[in-house]
Symmetry: C3
Subunit: 216 residues, 3 copies
């Protein structure tokens, strides 16, 4: 993806070991080592990005957002103020976050600028290891659980349980997925991933738990 054409900026702005494509705009210094920012992406002042992330072409990361370590943000994704993304999350191409339940143009001619409501900013959280498929739209205020999988094109209007697979508009749960991303047939109280062998159990309140104790 054109790595040879990229320069490594060190010392000022982003820290040493951050690679930034010549056409990208990076206005925050809070980017961890090993992160790469691709062409035409724009990271605003006030954004926080961890180590070893990849920020794809044409992506937009607003001030006030927080992104963990090892996160992949694919091309054209938009991450706004109020969005928190955990370690190892996959944000697919064209994924759209939101942060206002009742958006109106703040510049409308009939508005007194002092009248914009103060509580418009809503927080959204994606927990570690989750994946958001291409073109997913995430309504403001939801929490997407650890290792959940949001299908491509889903419109997420409610919280998503850890390890849940959701799809559709509005998104509804259609199954469970393993940490490795593969579907889990959790029809019984216990299940094993056919791809990687991880073992899971369904709790009495319907949550899928990894049986190595890390979900306790």
């Amino acid at each position: 993806m054109g790595v040879a054409r990229m320069a490594t900026k060190a010392g000022t702005g982003p820290g040493a070991g951050v690679r930034i494509h010549p056409t990208a705009l990076v206005e925050t210094a809070a980017i961890g080592e090993g992160t790469v920012v691709w062409a035409f992406a724009h990271v605003l002042a006030g954004a926080q990005i961890g180590r070893d992330c990849s920020i794809g072409d044409h992506a937009f990361i607003e001030g006030g957002s927080r992104i963990g370590d090892g996160v992949t943000v694919k091309n054209g994704a938009m991450i706004w103020d109020g969005v928190t993304i955990g370690d190892g999350v996959f944000v697919g191409p064209g994924v759209l976050f939101t942060n206002d339940r009742y958006p109106r143009s703040a510049r409308a001619p009939w508005l007194d600028r002092d009248h914009r409501r103060e509580d418009w900013l809503v927080q959204t959280t994606v927990e570690e290891g989750a994946s958001l498929g291409a073109g997913a739209v995430i309504l403001p205020g939801v929490r997407i659980g650890r290792f959940a999988m949001v299908a491509a094109g889903a419109v997420v209007t409610h919280d998503v349980a850890p390890h849940a697979l959701v799809r559709g508009n509005p998104a509804r749960q259609a199954g469970w997925v393993c940490r490795c991303g593969q579907p889990i047939a959790a029809t019984e109280a216990r299940a094993t991933c056919n791809a990687c062998g991880d073992g899971y159990g369904l709790s009495s309140h319907g949550a899928l738990l990894l049986l190595d104790g890390s979900d306790d």
Copy 2:
């Protein structure tokens, strides 16, 4: 959002008082005072944009489109020839307009270029004060009424009534909203917005009317 890095262009091209990010491309002079165009956006010759608008990063505004005053066009939205947008509209991130009901590649090898049909361009209108949520897709030829609210991820295939809330794919009406954007519980003939106090009445033909007379 990096205002300090932007220069104000005056005298040529866009008029005085228009702020254009150094990476943006603006090829029309028809932009009103107070409008700002952000990074990597592209406004083509023949586009008309009013006063006090904000055109977000990576947005695309084609020639033949008309945008009123105080409009917010968020990042990555695409506004084509044939689209008319009223004053104070909110066009959310990644909103996609369309202007051809039966799109085919006009460059296909088997096409005689003289055979492209002449009536392909369809007009779409968004009336003043309406909001289009993130990732909404607007089919060609629809009219979205005053102060309507299109939910994030909705695919709008039919006209939307003034003050209506629509959502889903295809978009269907799910309620009413106030001028301020908040939902209105219009279960009776009259309703009041809990947020701003505006009063509404349901007309005999099922339309929501603001009771200060401005919807007459």
Copy 3:
């Protein structure tokens, strides 16, 4: 669309007769004569693009993708490794392809980089003359048949038959379309396009066939 501002690059990189906007990035030499690449688009090394194509603003074409002749790729569309697009296809604005059924961040802190599964890349094919409407999301591994029409906002999770019209999330067949793009009322064994006069027949296994023999 700003043609006058574009230079023609000849001799190195893309071949003679390819027009590339000054802000576009083109890193492949495999682009046919007569193709134009618009502003802020990015075509990576290893991508193959045919003759007389148009690649819109902010589009992204990854290495390993193959695009035929006379293809229109509208703004912001993303075409990844593993995607093959036939001659004369229309890829609408914001169309998102995918190439991994079970996406996870390959950079997650808990991953040994040697453990990324080897079979993640899935092939997707769009046959000649098909159209993908604005914002369509194409799941990995599907085949979209000749002259099919994917409606704007559709999420394609299964193969699409030639000449089929599909829409919704998930996309389901809603009718048939002619080569010219217009709907065909194929309620009987034979049908004629009202717009262009092409004749079609429904085969015994439910496929729509053009009656000039070219679909044999």
